[in-house]
Each structure stands twice: as C-alpha cells, then as structure tokens.
Point group: C2
Chain length 181, copies 2
C-alpha cells in the first residue's frame, strides 16, 4: 500500500483549488483513490491559499494530512507559512522568481512556472497547470494521458486548451530536468 | 470554540462537490473558517459520491472528520454506505423520494429535495442547492445573504439564477418546518 500527500500553496487567484482537483481526477482516472481538501479562511482572503491532495492505491478513509511528499509553493507568503512542514521526505517545488527561501531545506527545486506560463503560453495563470504536470510526473502514479483527460474535463471551456498545453509542458519539464529528483 | 462537520452524500452527478464549496464559502463570508474535502475513487465513478465540509470559528489545522452534525443523503446507495456513521449527535437529512432507510436512526428528516427542484425550479439538479439552503440555516452560523453571495460566485453562469432561488427555497423550507430539529 502506498500513499502520496501533496500540498499546493500560494495566493488566492493562482488556481490552486483547480490544480488540486485535476491532480485528484488524474489519479482517479489512472486507477487510484484520491481526496482533495481545500481550506477557506480569512488567510485565503488575505492572499494565502492552499489545497491538499492525497493519492493512494487503497481507499482513503481519512484524508488526514501528515507529511507532504510534495510541497508546491507559488508565493513568498505561503513559503513563510508552510516551510516549517518540510521534512527530509518532502520535495519542495517553488516558483524560481516568486519565492526566495531564507531557510536551507533538504530537497528543493526552483522552476520558473510563472515565467514559462507567461512567455510560452501567454497566460500567467497557467503556472498552476505547469506545476500540475511536473508533480504528476514526479508521483510516478499518474499517466500523462489520464492527466490530460482530467484537465480537459475540469477546466472551464475558455481555459481548456491552454491548460492542456500547460500540463504537457510541465510533464516535459519534469522528464527533461528533474525526473530523478 | 465550535466546530460543525457536514457530510454530503449521493450519486456522482448530483453536484455534491459544488454544494460543499458553496457551504464552505458561505461560512467564510459569514466570518468563519471552513475546509471542504472531496473524495475521488472508483466508488465515485460507480455512483456514490461524497464531500465533507468543516466549519469553525477557529483555524482548522486538520480537516479530520470525526462525527457529522449533519449527514445529507441523496440516494439509497449512499445511505447504505454512510448510515452507520450516524450517532445521536447527527441530524440525518434524506431525500424523501430517493432514500428509504431500513434502519431506525435517532434524528431523521426526510424532505422532497429533488421533487421541489423539479416541480418548482424546473431543474432536478438544483436539489443539491435546496439542501444547501436547509443545512446552512440549520447550522445557525451562515447568513442567507452570504450564502447567496457564495452561490452566485461559485455557480456556473447558466445555473446562477436557479441555484440562488434554490438556496432561498431551502432556507425558507428550514425556517418553516424544521428550525427546531
């Protein structure tokens, strides 16, 4: 039995709830169980937002969140809040331009999610889906085909095409640069 | 400090995920904290779906789900699955036409959610939002004004008007018939 916990953190408006839904649905379509939890609170209004995904090959009775295998952080405020949850089992993925960690953490990868989204996809907001593609690849449990199907079914129509491109871009980015992270 | 747990259960396609989001957002706008958790699994594909909401006046560190104060059940399959979670502190709300409990449970209210949605709102799918209106009223922590604002911001545009009517209808139903449940 395996269980992978993923925390996505950043600002409200960076689309982390949708990112979590797409990861959960991609895992489901790949034959696994998943839960997705989103927190709503004054902090979310104030600019810090987070969503959690748990993926497992067995039913998830309690979506209790213990220790993220992956922590995605897309803004500095979220970094300040969540950096302390990083253990040696956590791979931290941060936006290279938006997050500047003062702490030394065991496993950290900085990627220019927002810059790629802006320069290559002409949609800054698609940074979330590039990150989804990276994380899905790194879990080794979600197939690209199922991830694309998930992103198509869950994205609003106007964003469908860009979001599909973005997860493919993220997937390729992970394959090329960090597959052994 | 208080904490209210709500489980929404039924079939995939009955819109329980959106119902959970609207309750969580309504609580947020009313000044509280909330989390919403949705499970994705083979069971969801097979027709059973559930979503959980936790509302509190304090930050919810772990959205662990212990004992629902409210359990909404919109189909028989979900009843079979979740009826055993009912304790004396749980108010079970079931669809009067779609669920036929064999068990005796301490506190049970059967309401014709789907029938009202179909006959009065001409949209069977709006049964979920009638239930949201009922539950929001019963929690005593969410205001109708904030609930309406939540449903407007979270519904797809084509469903916005019907969903707002539906939460108002549910709110009125709770006021009229079960406010002291």
């Amino acid at each position: 039995m395996w269980r992978v916990e993923i925390r996505l953190a950043g600002a409200g408006g960076q689309g982390l709830g949708l990112a979590a839904v797409v990861l959960a649905e991609g895992a489901l379509l790949s034959g696994f169980e998943a839960t997705m939890t989103q927190a709503y609170g004054p902090e979310a209004r104030g600019g810090a937002s987070s969503a959690d995904v748990v993926i497992s090959d067995s039913p998830i009775a309690h979506p209790r969140f213990e220790q993220p295998a992956f922590l995605l952080v897309l803004n500095q405020k979220a970094w300040s809040r969540f950096a302390r949850q990083i253990s040696e089992n956590t791979l931290a993925l941060i936006d290279a331009q938006l997050v500047h960690p003062a702490e030394v953490v065991p496993r950290l990868i900085a990627l220019p999610f927002e810059q790629i989204a802006r320069d290559e996809l002409r949609e800054k907001i698609a940074a979330n889906m590039i990150a989804v593609g990276v994380i899905a690849h790194l879990t080794r449990h979600i197939s690209l085909e199922m991830l694309e199907r998930a992103v198509e079914s869950r994205s609003p129509e106007r964003a469908r095409r860009t979001n599909r491109e973005a997860v493919r871009r993220g997937w390729a980015l992970a394959s090329a640069t960090i597959a052994n992270a």
